[in-house]
Symmetry: C2
Subunit: 376 residues, 2 copies
Amino acid sequence: MKFRLEAEDQQTRARAGIVSTDHGDIETPIFMPVGTLGAVKAVQIYELKNFIGAQIILGNTYHLYLRPGTDVLEKAGGLHRFNGWDRPILTDSGGYQVHSLAQIRKIKEEGVEFRSHIDGSKHFFTPEGVMDIQRKIGADIIMAFDECTPYPCEMAYAKKSMHMTHRWLERCIKRFRETECAYGYSQTLFPIVQGSVYRDLRKESAEFISSMDMEGNAIGGLSVGEPDDEMYEMTELVCSILPQNKPRYLMGVGTPANILEGIALGVDMFDCVMPTRNARNGMIFTTQGIINIKNEKWKDDFSPIDEFSECEMMRTHTKAFLRHLVHTGEILGAQISSVNNLSLYLWLVREARKKIIDGTFVNWKKEMLVKLMQRL
Amino acid sequence: MKFRLEAEDQQTRARAGIVSTDHGDIETPIFMPVGTLGAVKAVQIYELKNFIGAQIILGNTYHLYLRPGTDVLEKAGGLHRFNGWDRPILTDSGGYQVHSLAQIRKIKEEGVEFRSHIDGSKHFFTPEGVMDIQRKIGADIIMAFDECTPYPCEMAYAKKSMHMTHRWLERCIKRFRETECAYGYSQTLFPIVQGSVYRDLRKESAEFISSMDMEGNAIGGLSVGEPDDEMYEMTELVCSILPQNKPRYLMGVGTPANILEGIALGVDMFDCVMPTRNARNGMIFTTQGIINIKNEKWKDDFSPIDEFSECEMMRTHTKAFLRHLVHTGEILGAQISSVNNLSLYLWLVREARKKIIDGTFVNWKKEMLVKLMQRL
């Protein structure tokens, strides 16, 4: 993997760059649609490419490990072959899901024992094992196995957990270096900064992570319930420490506003289930603001879903039609809403990139923050 | 509406023709995907056009009347404007749904009183009212209001019901002729032959319907649970009476085999929820046979869903991937399955048409019947 910075904003820490992988380039800042089970929910692969302009998608190791299982993915020749997505893929480490989804988990120095949320079967994730699984899934970017602390979190626990995450990282790197991609292309490993909302811990973690000298770095343990200001404060601090010449990935973030603020703080990569999950609940992000499409007021509004969308489907389908589909529980409502929200997110990062290169990022961001977050 | 016969098979009653409407031509024999609520379930409009090759879709008057309601459709400028489908649309009359879905219905000479299956609200459908509703929905082909008798059905009831359907037809035609399309294009009205599985009744009904001299005719009251042989016998009888120079529409039929047999008996148009409903239950129709995609045996079968499909998506996505999506309850599983099944149905009628024109229909049909209906 290579990272080349193309432009840096003069008034903020925002940057435009290019991440190069064996499955193609990613123009940053980028948003990565979440493909939990190897596919983005309610969205076709060709829609991701042709309508949304996705450049990289994310897969969840925990989910893929349980279903279809590492053996099936290995036989398929990796996730790219399995799902037909031939651009870059990033997998998380499963750390987050083990803590949020799995039943009865036991965290030990060795790793995490948990029971599947599907059938209660017992499994054991170790840093080494999670490297092996991600090698077999075949992601271009694989994530270190960490503990994502909840919010709020006692400082003592956050500190202990962070140190374990650091020790796990060393084991991850060791295993990663001893192994190879099963399918002949390059994989890279991103370590994850933890430390909850404590400046001292975040600083210590960011310094430790930086010293590992990996090809890219991630910020974890945020967007877990803390106020936005704390998230921004931690992100700013960590970005000021992480190496400037490597991509920075803020995990699990966020709203369009969160993403713009993150970009301004020097983040290059984002992922979040929000655009697709909220789509399935009737929340539509548009260039003009946020729509609750279930609302009666859209019943006979025959204006386009988003007349300024770059996605033609949103310029032709009307709010009234989408409202009807969502109101009647049609699957197609979730499909159109999901394509719309992801289009908006990808448009947003593409626009941000242009503005960073143009040198007009700050004023544009100010305008956008008001526009995108207003309720229509 | 115009209908032009292009070719007639020498060994069967199969024909190839073209139905011309103000929204474009329909090459017959044709299968019409069912868009119950104005959209085909789990399928995008552009998928219908570009991946499936649908030429006409069907809307259900009963459902559209209840949601979004005739007022919304009228304000939109008709269903074509509402859903963005600019090719022909056919609406059924609501007769079937009133009998199968609505709660507490009372059938009287005047019409049918029923309660909505959604909120229990009371409504009254008359032949005149149903013409007005379909005028407002704006379908290119609208259907007469009939009673669809169940199977089995006593002859006395079938006879009485058929005569009422005939009287309703006269009222439908009168109202249809007194009114105009709200949106400036032509609409045409198809009457419906009833008579359950009784030859005498079917003959009487087909003769009565023929005498009305409408632009096309439909065969109703079949595919309601009777054995296939009875369905074919009635279809053959009715087709031998209905005018040769007008399109014949066999309502609610059926499996790929039913459609091939119907074509051989002289039917030009078909509709059925089977390809989409069964898709949502994991039944996949392919050029090589029928697949229960939930089956464990597809877990690591990385061959294409259907390597001979005309739809590229089915030649690239694998059985293992689709099985994974369906197995894990992903919406995308229903999407891909629905596109696949409709692609197969539309491919089937396109092929049948070619073979009729080529003069090779009979042998091809014999082969196809075995192939398409085998369980893989």
